[in-house]
């Protein structure tokens, strides 16, 4: 099958060889270690704790939830005592109220766990409720609640369910390993999703640099009519939702719209496995696969961890950092193109933690920023068709109006512009910062307009 792709984009060295051939290893938290469960690990309303300090919790126990539809509950991944509820650092850099559980090492499971069901006999509502009740969110990085994604407005029919297995971020190999080791579960999860949208066809998009994964998934899909494996050109950001949709369906998602508006649902490989576990195994989201890589770590590999472990516990459990010249100087949560840096290892792993990269001095080299030479390479490579050099100039001048006028808010922050820039300008960084400010202003303006409209309507009603 011919490999598909999108326009523009970049080709960073993939760095996957460090961990690609390492089978997934299960890492259990040590006895007496503390696990942190931040109340916001997803897009939407934060959860409220259901437990109090001193309570004993068991594996699989729901410890926090929110009544909002756009939210996702949180489960204990170990058994033990709730020792504190306090703010804790999460990989994105925010400090979030977290439930702290001291692991008693017994891994006692709560009753009612492991009651797998046959999805073919379940109604769509039951499936969606089960997915919501298992706390499944998009594990690719955004953390969009899966039950919301799978239940788009009725007027937007879904005809494609795309499994994002591009894994275009350099270094990360967790999705790759899943495809090699558990292809049947991915297919099963996709079949559950397809049951919700019978008119849709399932497409698993995999970049060409993972031939073994393509082979493995093709084999697992044999004999299933409505699922195909689609090879994709190896190019960053192939795994961006909008670009995956464009590559496979040639449809463009409008500015500010969700994928459902283009008839597509896109989910990451690990998310699909989480759906399968939730329905067929009756286990909520308590674990995830994390790639730990970079030259600064002793044993790069792919690890199945309990969500809530601190990254320090994870690093200690797998043998620690290298010493001397190969000691890490930079820690990145996620991939090197889009992952935020960490200033400490005392960070809770959350549902969306897909990787931890430990870069040595050599890998972490930050080149000096020079004058823009107007070569236009950022424009040539921007996957969104923007003009990053122009947005950068607006950002540096504080010209928010110009920034919005030149579609700065459509930036997906993939970093392709900074990657290509021969003058080594921090384009993506400046654009991201300005985007935050302008998006905030836009939201505030929208809220003000709404409040004004409401006040006017109220005044009108009173007058009458």
């Amino acid at each position: 099958m011919q490999a598909l792709t999108f326009k523009r984009g970049v080709h960073p060295p993939d760095g996957k060889a460090l961990s690609a051939e390492q089978p997934i290893q299960v890492i259990l938290p040590k006895e007496n270690s503390e696990l942190f469960y931040p109340m916001s690990q997803h897009i939407g309303a934060p959860c409220e704790p259901l437990v109090a300090v001193g309570d004993h919790v068991k594996v699989g126990q729901k410890i926090a939830e929110s009544p909002a539809f756009m939210s996702s509950p949180i489960f204990a991944s170990v058994s033990g005592e709730v020792v504190d509820i306090r703010p804790m650092l999460v990989p994105g850099g925010a400090t979030v109220k977290s439930i702290v559980v001291k692991n008693d090492g017994k891994m006692e499971e709560i009753e009612g766990l492991n009651q797998g069901r046959d999805y073919t006999t379940m109604s769509n509502e039951e499936i969606l409720a089960a997915i919501k009740d298992a706390g499944v969110v998009g594990l690719g990085g955004a953390g969009f609640p899966t039950h919301v994604k799978l239940n788009p407005p009725k007027d937007t029919p879904i005809d494609h369910i795309l499994i994002n297995a591009a894994e275009c971020e350099p270094y990360l190999t967790c999705d790759y390993r899943l495809m090699l080791e558990e292809p049947e579960r991915i297919v099963k999860g996709l079949q559950i999703m397809l049951k919700l949208h019978p008119g849709a066809k399932g497409v698993i998009g995999i970049e060409m640099n993972k031939p073994k994964a393509i082979e493995s998934m093709t084999k697992a899909c044999e004999g299933i009519d409505n699922i195909t494996v689609q090879p994709l050109v190896t190019k960053f950001p192939q795994g961006s939702e909008k670009h995956l949709i464009y590559a496979i369906t040639k449809r463009e998602v409008k500015s500010g719209a969700l994928p459902a508006s283009a008839g597509c649902i896109v989910d990451n490989v690990d998310t699909v496995v989480a759906i399968e576990r939730a329905i067929c195994k009756g286990r909520p989201l308590m674990r995830r696969i994390v790639t730990v890589s970079g030259k600064g770590i002793k044993n790069p590999g792919n690890y199945k961890i309990r969500i809530g472990m601190t990254l320090r516990d994870l690093v200690d459990a797998i043998g620690g950092f290298n010493e001397g010249a190969n000691a890490p100087v930079k820690l990145i949560a996620g991939g090197p193109m889009m992952g935020p840096t960490l200033y400490t290892l005392d960070v809770a792993s959350v549902k969306t933690t897909s990787g931890l990269l430990c870069f040595t001095q050599e890998e972490a080299f930050i080149p000096e920023e020079r004058n823009c030479i107007r070569c236009g390479k950022c424009v040539e490579h921007c996957p969104m068709g923007l003009q990053p050099f122009l947005l950068n100039a607006c950002a540096l001048k504080g010209d928010g109006e110009g920034f919005v006028k030149h579609h700065g808010l459509d930036c997906i922050e993939c970093g392709s512009c900074s990657y290509e820039c021969p003058a080594k300008r921090q384009l993506a960084q400046s654009i991201r910062a300005t985007k935050k400010i302008e998006a905030g202003k836009k939201a505030a303006a929208a809220a003000a307009a709404r409040a004004k409209a409401e006040a006017e309507a109220k005044a009108k009603a009173e007058k009458n």
Partner: protein, 306 residues
């Protein structure tokens, strides 16, 4: 506990740098430079060396005097110096490239903010300045005598002859290989094309500007001609067209980056190419003027455009 570096994304960068781009441009100019020295001998070699040294010196001096970081290591001043020398007649006195380099680097480049902020190509600005100030020195063309030691006789360039509506004596082969009178770096079209292809292969320039420029001249010469003379194949190898199309029209700072713009600019280039009678070396004048059509990308650049 070690302190960890915190920085914005992305954490990996391509190997390409300003220096590597400028190095590629210099490599691409080597064939034409070598042929220029081959045809015009020792005087050409001296002019090239003086021009490069003067350009780098003025960049260094300006940055030192203004206490700015010295950026001569990015090789952009070397490129300016080399291009300036290639746009000089071999008979030019030794002070000509020094004055030209001073104007190019200080006025056209640094005063506007340095690398990337210039609104016109510095080498061409330097040349335009020289041509306007010292027309005699700048238009005394000599025959290519190489290292023979013979006194170079004054000649007219093929383009100048073409403009009078007369077919020049030089054969097509001569204009392609550069065995004609003209500026040091412009005569050997084939060496310039080789250099241009190198830049295309290295993705330093895109094909659009050079191809559209040359094609515009070709098509319109075939269609309209000059004073009844229609020799498009001959014409595209004369004057500084190849040098201009591959190395100067593509100058990053002053060329359009929008893919749809070059076709529009072709009309402009043609217009200046054929109607402007004041400047004898036409392509350079065109490129200088078309810099003005460059969609000034940021509002602060508007002040540079008139």
């Amino acid at each position: 506990m070690a302190n960890f570096v915190v920085s914005g994304t992305p954490h990996v960068r391509s190997k390409e740098s300003i220096q590597s781009i400028m190095r590629d441009v210099i490599i691409a100019l080597i064939p034409a430079t070598a042929m220029g020295i081959y045809f015009f001998g020792i005087p050409a070699l001296i002019l090239i060396a003086v021009s490069i040294v003067a350009s780098v010196f003025f960049e260094w001096l300006y940055q030192k005097l203004l206490k700015k970081p010295v950026t001569i290591s990015d090789l952009s001043a070397v490129v300016t110096g080399l291009l300036l020398a290639m746009n000089l007649p071999a008979s030019a006195p030794i002070w000509v490239p020094i004055v030209g380099a001073a104007f190019a680097i200080i006025f056209a480049k640094q005063l506007f903010g340095g690398l990337g902020q210039n609104f016109i190509n510095p080498a061409l600005a330097g040349r335009a300045f020289l041509l306007a100030s010292y027309p005699t020195e700048m238009t005394s063309w000599t025959a290519p005598v190489g290292f023979s030691g013979a006194d170079a006789a004054a000649v007219a360039t093929p383009l100048a002859t073409l403009k009078t509506g007369v077919m020049p004596d030089a054969s097509l082969q001569d204009v392609i290989f550069g065995n004609i009178g003209g500026c040091i770096g412009e005569t050997c079209a084939i060496a310039l094309i080789i250099g241009g292809i190198y830049l295309l292969v290295k993705h330093v320039i895109s094909w659009k500007i050079p191809v559209l420029y040359i094609l515009t001249v070709f098509v319109l010469t075939a269609a309209i001609g000059r004073k009844g003379l229609r020799v498009p194949v001959y014409e595209i190898f004369t004057g500084g067209l190849m040098l201009g199309a591959f190395f100067m029209a593509t100058d990053y700072a002053s060329s359009p980056r929008y893919t749809e713009r070059p076709s529009y600019l072709c009309h402009r280039l043609w217009y200046h190419h054929h109607t402007d009678q004041n400047f004898r070396r036409l392509p350079r004048r065109c490129i200088l003027l078309y810099s003005d059509y460059e969609p000034g990308c940021t509002s602060d650049r508007k002040i540079h455009r008139t």
